[in-house]
């Protein structure tokens, strides 16, 4: 009897051996000794499997890190770091598939279909981290911008994923460095920074008007 798990496995095996998707669900089902119907019970297409695999990586990572003892002591920053480390540790076991899947995506500005699921899970996860961080004053709330924090983290996610794919260092040490440095910088920007103060100051000057006059020392 086919399961989600067994179909996912068979699919990975197929694309990695053949270097491409099966020609049809019929061929794939026959090869794996199941009926087309069974296949459609779980997935509607091959792309759906791929999407599901990616989503599953993220879901698994989040479940796993939340069971760690230190989780509750972590700050938002550390929680995000923890996600990244564990995520890349997890997909290491499926590196060939990940490389195959990422490389075949068309270059475009919008998120490819395959990644929509993982993006949603990731963004929900980040959103809750960020909310937590803002509440505890770890991060600074900024009108309009704080809603976009999660986008910045998604950009990091895509960047680090591509970095990892091209990483030749032993044990992917460089990726660890990229995570440590990249996520820290991103969170530094989320924190209260000189930019906030500058902005405040600008607002103050604007409000207490007469900017031009006071700068000109009363020139006439």
């Amino acid at each position: 009897m086919a399961t989600v798990e067994s179909i996912r496995k068979a699919y990975i095996d197929f694309v990695l051996t053949e270097g491409q998707q099966p020609k049809s669900v019929y061929i794939f089902a026959k090869k794996n000794k199941m009926t087309e119907e069974e296949f459609y019970q779980f997935f509607s297409s091959f792309d759906a499997i791929e999407q599901n695999l990616w989503t599953n990586f993220a879901v698994k990572t989040i479940t796993e890190i939340k069971t760690q003892e230190v989780w509750s002591q972590y700050t938002s920053r550390e929680k995000a770091l923890s996600f990244f480390y564990s995520f890349f540790e997890l997909i290491k076991g499926n590196r060939s598939f990940v490389v195959y899947s990422v490389k075949k995506q068309p270059k475009s500005f919008s998120t490819p279909q395959t990644f929509t699921g993982v993006k949603e899970v990731f963004e929900n996860f980040c959103q809750s981290l960020i909310a937590e961080g803002i509440e505890s004053n770890e991060l600074s709330e900024r009108k309009f911008f704080s809603n976009r924090y999660k986008d910045a983290l998604w950009v990091q996610f895509v960047f680090i994923l591509n970095f990892w794919i091209n990483d030749n260092s032993t044990g992917f040490e460089k990726t660890d460095e990229a995570i440590e440095k990249g996520i820290n910088v991103t969170f530094d920007l989320f924190q209260r920074s000189p930019i906030d103060n500058l902005f405040e100051y600008g607002k103050f000057l604007a409000k207490h008007g007469g900017l031009k006059e006071s700068m000109g020392f009363g020139s006439n």
Binding site: Q68, E69, V70, Q73, Y74, R77, E78, K79, L81, S82, F84, Y85, S86, E89, S169, G171, E173, K174, D176, E177, I179, E180, K181, N184
Partner: protein, 440 residues
């Protein structure tokens, strides 16, 4: 009092001070990038050479401020070039990695990578917040089976950074020291080799066990126990050594007797290694020693080991005996073997270097001449520094001389002298005597 202690005071010693220094450098280097890119905005043809120079200058500036007085003495054996390695080994590696501590998740990740499980599963207790920074990593407190442990974790990518940092500063160093690339290169490679060895924690554990076993019989010296099964390429687990660092110890105003005991332990530790093992813990940095509550010398960190080949050991240490030094022909032969006198030197040059080096080594060997030596006497150190100062201004010494082994052997011995001076210890110096050959 002499200017020696004052100089030592001016070296930023506490961790906070030191990292503050490097934060400053970091900001400056960052500033250099901004400067570079804003200039480039108007002049797209600009290349990066100016930027690299700016960076190297700022890095170097902060290094020079940090150099210890040991460094000054190290210039003695003709070598301005010592300035750079010393500054490097002590501080530069630290400058890069001291600043950002490893995040909790990265620590967990490092453990998972090497042991397949998180630190809480390996130890009974593990403190995610580090208790101090080591040169290229940080130290955490842990507990297993009721034993307090120190766990050293290395920052990722340190090895690569060392090589690239050296590349960055190299050209600048050549200009600054006025030496040719070829001359300096063998010294640079020696330093790079040692630094890279320091990043190999598996090697460090092996050596730590080897050396602590070999030195186990020395009086008043203690070593932590190492746990190879809980160590890996980037993690070292060892016993937590209770005690005070040298400076804290000195602040408690210890008795002369205790100072002498610690000084003697240090002397024995170093000279046993040099003369019996022919390989030496080449990092006599005060931070690598602890004074235990029982008044013993605890030694941590065997990251930097210098092995001395026979063809260096015999000519060099034989010079410390009056027997050889009194024989001019044999002494010159030894100098030649150590490349302190070159093949194509003129007779006048030979005479000059012979006199200078003889004087230098004579100074260096002073503690060996009698069976006791009082390191508290400032006169000896003033003479050393004075000589170093004089030599560093001589054009004849602009050129690099001496085999590469001098870098670390000098650093070790002058470092040792300096610590003993700080301790104001009187030491029996005939416990482990150099092996000497009287003729070449």
């Amino acid at each position: 009092m002499s200017d020696t202690p004052k100089e030592q005071n001016s070296i930023p010693t506490s961790k906070v001070q030191r990292s503050a220094k490097f934060v400053k450098t970091g900001i400056k280097v960052g500033g250099n990038y901004i400067k570079h890119y804003s200039k480039k905005l108007f002049n797209p043809d600009m290349d990066k050479s100016e930027l690299n120079e700016d960076n190297a200058a700022d890095i170097y500036e902060s290094l020079s401020e940090l150099k210890g007085s040991a460094l000054k003495v190290a210039q003695m054996l003709s070598m301005d070039k010592n300035l750079l390695p010393q500054a490097y080994t002590d501080k530069f590696s630290q400058s890069q990695y001291n600043a950002p501590p490893l995040s909790g998740p990265l620590i967990v990740q490092t453990f998972k990578k090497y042991f397949g499980k998180s630190p809480e599963k390996i130890y009974d207790k593990f403190n995610v917040r580090s208790s101090n920074a080591a040169s290229i990593g940080q130290v955490h407190e842990a507990e297993l089976n009721g034993k307090k442990l120190a766990v050293k974790i290395q920052y990722p990518g340190v090895g690569d950074s060392i090589s690239s940092d050296l590349k960055l500063v190299k050209p600048f160093a050549f200009r600054l020291l006025g030496m040719s690339e070829k001359e300096l290169d063998i010294y640079m490679r020696e330093v790079e080799e040692r630094l890279l060895e320091e990043t190999d924690y598996e090697l460090e554990v092996r050596r730590s066990i080897e050396f602590s076993t070999a030195c186990a019989n020395l009086d008043n010296v203690v070593f932590p126990k190492y746990y190879p099964e809980l160590s890996s390429k980037r993690i070292i687990t060892m016993d937590w050594l209770e005690g005070q660092h040298l400076r804290e110890f000195l602040n408690t105003n210890p008795s002369q007797q205790l100072r002498n005991t610690i000084g003697q332990a240090l002397w024995d530790f170093y000279n046993f290694q040099q003369h019996e093992l022919r390989a030496v813990h080449a990092d006599p940095h005060p931070g690598n020693f602890m004074i235990t509550p029982e008044g013993k010398l605890g030694i941590i960190d065997f990251g930097c080991i210098k092995e001395m080949p026979e063809d260096f050991y015999y000519p060099f240490f034989s010079l410390t005996s009056t027997g050889l030094m009194d024989n001019k022909d044999e002494t010159i032969k030894a100098f030649r073997q150590l490349e302190m006198i070159h093949k194509d030197d003129t007779p006048a040059q030979i005479e000059f270097y012979y006199t200078m080096y003889k004087q230098m080594i004579g100074l260096f060997a002073k503690p060996y001449i009698n069976d006791r030596f009082d390191f508290s006497q400032t006169a000896f150190f003033e003479e050393l520094y004075g000589f170093g100062e004089k030599v560093s201004k001589m054009p004849e010494f602009k050129q690099a001389r001496g085999v590469k082994h001098f870098i670390y052997v000098n650093r070790t011995n002058f470092g040792l002298y300096n610590i003993l001076h700080e301790l104001k210890a009187e030491v029996k110096t005939d416990t482990f005597k150099p092996h000497v050959v009287l003729a070449y």
